[in-house]
């Protein structure tokens, strides 16, 4: 910890007081709450030999869970990319009654506990549910299948694309669109060549955020997935199963793999945001 503090404390002089106190406390708290537990996870993984580690993280059941977790998260993030852009567009550009309420409601998945979302979506899409019955009649199983998992992940990731694109869209200069139109571009061409490129960094950031959130999601998925090994078992649930069997090292190994992926995604998101800010700043 002393090392960490020493690293961050090299700074420019300032007249404002309180750097030592605020920085020291922040680093102490961060170390205690975040670093220490995460290092326990990584160290636990090192108790396994390489062969044992590989046996856990590359077992057939684990690979099936990665495929489901990443596949469903990717599809859900893509759905959110398309509909998030649509919702942001409609909220920024058009007016209709109840718009403010709808706008506020977009944040619901941030505020609604995941367990509540999980049982609500399951009740809606179960074979005898309000919506599930129609799918059931058509012979499609939504709850307790891969569709159900994807559905829950769409719900969880919904606000990310909307909330990253919305402010950027609000700031797109109308003059550029007018210029494009007066130069003879159709509305579609203006969108594809002028508006879309300006939105691209924020779209990608929102997509990456929704994807990252979906990978780790547990609460809403466990209710709707049915939790069948090899079929509808997500990786966090597999970790839970290992824990219940007191296989702490195995759980830690899977956790470390997911942690690494999350960390990489976080770096990508930061780079995207940097690009987005840079680009936005350059346009100004």
């Amino acid at each position: 910890m002393g090392f960490i503090l020493a690293f961050f404390s090299k700074r420019k002089k300032s007249v404002l007081p309180g750097f030592g106190l605020s920085m020291g406390f922040s680093i102490f708290y961060l170390s205690l709450i975040v670093f220490l537990p995460l290092s326990a996870l990584v160290l636990k993984t090192f108790e396994l030999s390489l062969a044992e580690f590989w046996q856990v993280v590359a077992s057939e059941r684990a690979i099936a869970s990665y495929q489901l977790t990443f596949g469903a998260s990717l599809v859900a993030a893509l759905i959110n990319l398309v509909f998030g852009l649509l919702v942001a567009w409609v909220l920024v550009r058009y007016s209709f009654p109840g718009k403010k309420i709808i706008d506020a409601l977009v944040d619901l998945p941030f505020a609604l506990p995941t367990a509540v979302a999980g049982i609500a979506l399951t009740a809606l899409y179960a074979p005898n549910g309000w919506i599930g019955q129609f799918f059931h009649a058509a012979g499609i199983k939504v709850a307790y299948s891969v569709f159900g998992v994807t559905l829950a992940l769409v719900f969880i990731g919904l606000p990310f694309v909307v909330r990253t694109v919305q402010p950027v869209l609000e700031d797109v200069e109308k003059e550029l669109e007018e210029a494009a139109a007066s130069l003879g571009a159709s509305r579609l061409q203006t969108f594809a060549r002028v508006i879309f490129p300006a939105l691209l960094p924020s779209l990608l950031t929102g997509f990456a955020l929704a994807f990252a959130r979906a990978i780790g999601e547990y609460g809403s998925v466990v209710f709707i997935s049915g939790n069948m090994p090899f079929k509808t078992e997500i990786t966090p649930l597999l970790i839970m199963t290992r824990l219940e069997q007191f296989d702490y090292a195995g759980a830690a190994a899977l956790g470390t793999v997911m942690l690494l992926i999350s960390f990489l995604l976080l770096l990508v998101i930061n780079l995207l945001q940097h690009w987005s800010n840079h680009r936005y700043g350059a346009e100004k």
Binding site: L16, T114, V116, I119, I131, A212, G216, M240, S262
Partner: protein, 314 residues
């Protein structure tokens, strides 16, 4: 300022259909579509699509929570939320949030003061590290605490010898909740304080204010709405946390069951009306959070506009 004025002039020129100057013109008004707007049919189609999507994914889940909660009548609803196990779960959830939120508020204020008001090496790295708990799966968060405090964890034996339970007890639940809600206050404050810069604080110090006075009388009033928003968001997440808490709690009824865990148990016991009744309390909390958020945003925008007006007068 001048660019805003120019914008206004510009847009009135380009909007022949907006605010017709006399009634005669209004009567035989022909709607001319702007070159920068979509045709009406497309607007209606896009709005319809967006609203259908939101209805399907946001509105219906909310409606079904309340629908199912009252499906067996008021009496079952009231009984479900007042029975001892539910009442205990509600108390424990409130307790965990009451400890976790203030801890993260103090951290959020400290971290954002250090990050926004000073230049130091590795700042971007520090911001990324603060965001880390958002990217970590809640199950992994719970697992980490298990490895530290569990019976076979680093300090498990020592804790056991000293008869102090962290796992499957309230301290574990509080720790897991703190981890999960760790970044929420800091994330709201850092960008705002960075944008505000440090001139005002420097001016206050030059005028003889102490460091604490500067923080209390200059910084705090300018970040109050963002701080409040951070607190309510942090609180909503703290009360709703499921994954991390379900690893560390052990789910002992009337001892270590929080509201989301109680919902899970009821649901798995096919007591759907009761599960949705407890859920409806958390859904109400979520709605309240959204209402407060909108109010705070509105207040912040109002303050911002007033400050801009003052600056313009100067």
């Amino acid at each position: 300022m001048s660019s805003v004025v120019a914008d206004k002039a510009h847009s009135t020129l380009l909007q022949p259909q907006g605010n017709p100057p006399n009634t005669a013109a209004a009567k035989n008004r022909i709607t001319i579509r702007q070159a920068t707007a979509e045709p009406l049919w497309l607007k209606v189609l896009l709005t319809g699509l967006a609203l259908s999507f939101l209805t399907l994914f946001l509105l219906l889940p909310l409606v079904i929570v309340f629908g199912e909660a009252f499906s067996k009548g008021w009496q079952v609803y009231v009984a479900s939320i007042t029975e001892p196990a539910a009442a205990h779960a509600i108390k424990l959830t409130l307790l965990a949030a009451a400890i976790a939120v203030p801890c993260n508020v103090i951290f959020g204020l400290g971290a954002s003061w250090a990050i926004a008001k000073f230049q130091f090496r590795g700042k971007q790295l520090l911001i990324t590290l603060i965001d880390l708990p958002i990217a970590v799966s809640p199950v992994i968060a719970g697992l980490c605490f298990m490895l530290l405090f569990g019976a076979r964890g680093w300090w498990g034996e020592w804790l056991n010898d000293h008869d102090f339970a962290v796992m499957f007890a309230v301290p574990g639940i509080v720790l897991a909740t703190i981890f999960i809600t760790f970044p929420f206050v800091a994330r709201e404050l850092i960008p705002l304080m960075q944008e505000q810069g440090r001139e005002q604080e420097e001016a206050a110090l030059t005028l003889g204010a102490s460091g604490w006075q500067t923080f209390r009388l200059v910084t705090l009033p300018s970040i109050k709405w963002a701080l409040l928003y951070g607190i309510i968001l942090c609180n909503a997440r703290a009360m709703g946390e499921f994954g991390a808490v379900s690893v560390v709690s052990g789910k002992i009824r009337e001892q270590t069951n929080t509201m989301p865990l109680h919902i899970e148990i009821l649901y798995n016991e096919y007591q759907f009306a009761a599960a949705f009744a407890v859920s409806s309390l958390l859904a109400l909390l979520a709605l309240l959070t959204l209402v407060l958020k909108s109010t705070l945003q509105w207040r912040a925008a109002k303050d911002y506009a007033e400050a801009a007006k003052l600056r313009a007068v100067e």
